[in-house]
């Protein structure tokens, strides 16, 4: 008897182990089923949506107009539900909390923000919406005269409004995307600022604008050419996932991409954070000035180009490394065309002083 129970126990665990073969079976069936929906391509639609933190988004939005310039701004909000398939709304729904945060902050700082809400659930939500919030029914009409539009729910009728229509309707320059579902590149091309404050969907290398910018560079920069990557300012995001330069480097081979202190920049996320701190301390932008290229490609945003003159160390690197191109960039949590500018080295060296 004493010898038998361990043996029985082993048999039980063995049977349980074999029963658990159902886990890989489910996994493999689901994996093949899921990827078949996108034609066996990795796409962001295969990844789960995340959720944003309302108080954080409030801060991001108000910071879009720094120095008190948020005063009197009109923001149109498209959608209220957390999910486009939801037809119910509650006090705890994220967009309701975000509106509360915005209204409270507006009152506290005397900003007089004006909010317009467009949603089929607006009637249902009225009990929780502050009295100052104006409810409208037509998403395009609600754009007229607004300084920014905020996509809070990815309902098809909002996604169907073209970027050109949005740009034509808005008085201001901001498209706040809390869903990550709108075509950021299309917004960028109209000259509006695409501010993706939604949680990242899928891995960074599937970011649609990154992929498009990669294609653009493949067409523009011949194979074998060297590109010097210059952060215009210290990174605004220090999350390891947002090292867009790593993916550009992989995708653009055999072009030669150079960056400052790559040993830290390409290592672990922790080392990358240190790299960002070191770059802040190094501060090469302090001895340079920003300038505006005569013409920008791919992006429609003109006024806030990421371009600056080169520091002495950067000029020396241009000479030493045999580079033909300089890519200026600002490292943000989202890849946006407007943050990246690739110029021939002569143009970058001229720094806007003269036409090369």
């Amino acid at each position: 008897m004493g010898d038998a129970w361990p043996s029985r126990l082993r048999r039980v665990f063995l049977r349980l182990h074999l029963v658990l073969a159902v886990v890989p079976l489910i996994y493999l069936a689901s994996a093949l089923g899921n990827t078949s929906t996108t034609g066996f391509r990795a796409e962001r639609s295969l990844y789960p949506d995340g959720s944003y933190l309302p108080y954080q988004v409030r801060n991001f939005i108000l910071r879009s107009w720094p120095g008190g310039r948020a005063r009197g701004r009109v923001i149109t909000i498209w959608g209220l539900a957390d999910d486009p398939s939801h037809d119910e709304i509650e006090e705890t729904t994220r967009s309701i909390r975000l509106i509360d945060h915005l209204v409270e902050e507006s009152a506290r700082l005397n900003l007089n923000l004006q909010l317009r809400v467009v949603s089929p659930l607006a009637e249902q939500a009225k009990q929780w919406l502050p009295a100052k919030v104006k409810v409208m029914s037509d998403p395009v009409a609600a754009l007229q005269g607004a300084h920014g539009v905020m996509l809070a729910c990815a309902r098809p009728e909002y996604l169907a409004v073209s970027a050109e229509t949005i740009a034509a309707g808005l008085r201001g320059m901001f498209f706040f995307d809390l869903t990550g579902k709108y075509d950021g590149g299309a917004i960028d091309r109209t000259g509006l600022h695409y501010m993706n404050y939604g949680p990242p969907i899928g891995p960074p290398w599937l970011d649609p604008e990154l992929l498009e910018y990669t294609e653009y560079l493949r067409a523009k920069v011949p194979e074998g050419d060297g590109m010097l990557l210059i952060p215009v300012l210290p990174p605004e995001s220090v999350a390891g996932r947002n090292r867009w330069f790593l993916f550009l480097n992989e995708q653009l081979l055999p072009r030669r991409l150079y960056l400052w202190r790559t040993e830290e920049a390409t290592a672990t996320s922790v080392q990358f954070r240190q790299w960002a701190l070191d770059y802040r301390e190094f501060g090469p932008w302090q001895e340079t000035r920003r300038w505006q290229p005569a013409q920008r490609e791919i992006t429609g945003v003109r006024q806030t180009g990421p371009v600056r003159t080169l520091s002495a160390a950067e000029r020396a690197a241009v000479e030493e490394l045999d580079v033909q191109w300089v890519t200026f960039f600002r490292l943000n949590a989202d890849f946006r065309f407007q943050d990246w500018e690739t110029l021939p080295v002569a143009t970058a060296l001229a720094g806007g002083e003269e036409s090369p």
Partner: protein
């Protein structure tokens, strides 16, 4: 289409190379399923080892490509000749051997003691794993940046000592140039990049889906290798070992369903990959095949030397897949030594010689890579530097976790953690224990392994069970020590699937030991 065809050619030639290495099937019986698995893993090991050696010798990748193509064609010729001889010798014969041979070659699974249901399960899981591996182009961080990037460097005609892999830059106190090329983990071995680059070179283009076709078969091969290894023990042990291995969820995905059924909706692209051009599964397959071949070489005298040196080749192959492969090679060597399996005396003389031969071949395979590795920069994982008695003792005796490496602390957002760091030794055993009972990743493999340790006098007398057990226990101890001295914030590594991904390396030997012990037990029970 051309990329797919090129990948199929690479796969066929690699299998042919491996098959040409193996002993003739009439000398050493095996089913088509086992034969394919052993041939593919051995072929992949040889291509990785020989390719790395050529690169280390200063040859360009073009030489590797031509040697591969030449070797593949030669192997096809050898196989065709062998096949003709085989049918001339055995067809129509009614000898016992001929009947055994026909039985072994019947269908896919031949003479294996697997039930029809078990065969169907193995087939579905194996083929499903292959399809899932290529269902999307390379889509995970490590496979993309650590391996595919290097593969692209080789594809574009670069050599290993190429600025794209070596020209990292760092702070220059003298004000020198601080701009350099970008590469993650430059000193990771070149096995996977090399195999991907071969597909791309043959196709003339880099196709991120089909370059990984030769790397899609690890989960299919692992159970077959275990089955082959346990043939020399008992048919029942072999069948049980194959099933145990194939049913282990970790061969396909880790922690699947741990956050609920909604994970089904993201299966195949989620953030916990195992299939799909990563390096942990290749290490596991190489180690499993090496152990299986070594076991076969030790337990029977037919083609012993040949099995032994292919086992050594596979051990070398594990080193070419990931740096951890080197640690696992050391662990297997140490286990053989400690188990007394290397002492050539009495009935064990032949077995010990086979083991020594395997280890010598493995050393020969690894030497070129080590010389090459010394020329590559190490950016963040120079564990040799941290593996000192003082550091081990520091953490064993209650040294604080390295909270200063926590991103929140770096960002100044976690003063509490900085003020009250946990002791590392209080975290680490828990991480391992949680893994052993994580049934969604491992099923009950680890629980069974600990329940099946050879502790009885009869099983302890068997050097083969001793070295298998010591290899798995040694790997666990080795990874425990490595994580004890890791220069990183341990909870962050845990989030990235450590030690889970490391334990995967030993899934083959663990399943072999469990199946062996269980089949022995069942026999004992039945005899009672």
């Amino acid at each position: 289409m051309i990329a797919f065809l090129a990948a199929v050619v690479v796969l066929l030639l690699t299998s042919a190379i491996g098959a040409a290495l193996l002993p003739r099937v009439d000398a050493l019986l095996r089913s088509r399923w086992e034969g394919f698995a052993l041939a593919l893993v051995a072929g992949l090991a040889l291509v990785a080892v020989a390719g790395t050696a050529l690169l280390a010798a200063g040859c360009g990748f073009q030489v590797v490509e031509w040697v591969f193509l030449g070797g593949g064609v030669l192997a096809l010729g050898v196989l065709a000749r062998g096949s003709a001889r085989l049918s001339a010798q055995w067809s129509g014969s009614d000898s016992t051997r001929a009947i055994q041979l026909r039985s072994a070659r019947r269908g896919l699974f031949g003479d294996s003691g697997l039930s029809p249901h078990a065969r169907a399960l193995l087939l579905i899981l194996g083929v499903g794993a292959v399809l899932a591996s290529v269902s999307v182009p390379i889509n995970f961080f490590d496979p993309l940046l650590h391996f595919a990037y290097k593969g692209k460097v080789l594809f574009h005609g670069g050599e290993v000592i190429d600025p794209a892999l070596t020209a990292l830059s760092k702070a220059q106190p003298d004000g020198g140039n601080e701009f350099g090329r970008m590469v993650t983990h430059p000193n990771y071995p070149f096995g996977l990049p090399l195999l991907e680059a071969l597909c791309a070179r043959l196709a003339g283009e880099w196709d991120a889906r089909w370059v990984k076709l030769p790397l899609a078969f690890w989960s299919l091969c692992l159970p077959a290798a275990v089955h082959f290894g346990l043939r020399s023990v008992a048919p029942r042990a072999a069948a049980l070992g194959a099933l145990l291995t194939a049913a282990t969820p970790m061969l396909y995905a880790r922690d699947f369903l741990s956050n609920g059924y909604k994970e089904v909706l993201n299966a195949g692209v989620g953030h916990k990959p195992v299939l799909g051009a990563g390096a942990d599964l290749p290490v596991a397959a190489m180690i499993a095949t090496a152990c299986a071949l070594l076991l076969a070489a030790r337990r029977q005298s037919v083609a012993r030397a040949r099995l032994a040196w292919i086992a050594g080749l596979c051990l070398g192959g594990a080193v070419m897949m990931k740096n951890e492969g080197l640690a696992m090679f050391g662990v297997v060597a140490l286990a053989l030594g400690l188990a007394g399996a290397l002492i050539p005396r009495g009935a064990q003389r032949g077995a010990a010689r086979a083991s020594l031969l395997a280890l010598l071949v493995a050393v020969a395979c690894v030497v070129p890579w080590m010389s090459l590795r010394a020329e590559l920069p190490a950016i963040d994982e120079n564990y040799a530097e941290h593996f000192t008695p003082e550091r081990i003792w520091h953490f064993l005796s209650g040294g604080d976790e390295l909270v200063e490496k926590n991103p929140a602390v770096i960002a100044g957002q976690s003063d509490d953690l900085l003020a009250n760091p946990p002791k590392r030794i209080s975290l680490l055993p828990g991480y391992f224990l949680l893994e052993f009972v994580d049934v969604l990743s491992w099923g009950f493999l680890w629980i069974l392994f600990f329940l099946c340790l050879p502790l009885s006098r009869s099983s302890l007398r068997d050097p083969d069970r001793r070295w298998l057990a010591l290899a798995v226990l040694g790997a666990i101890a080795c990874y425990f020590l490595i994580l004890l001295v890791t220069p990183w914030y341990l909870p962050l590594l845990r989030e990235k699937g450590i030690p889970e991904r490391l334990l995967l390396h030993m899934v083959g030997p663990a399943a072999m030991l469990v199946a062996w012990q269980l089949s022995t037990r069942f026999q004992e029970d039945n005899s009672v």
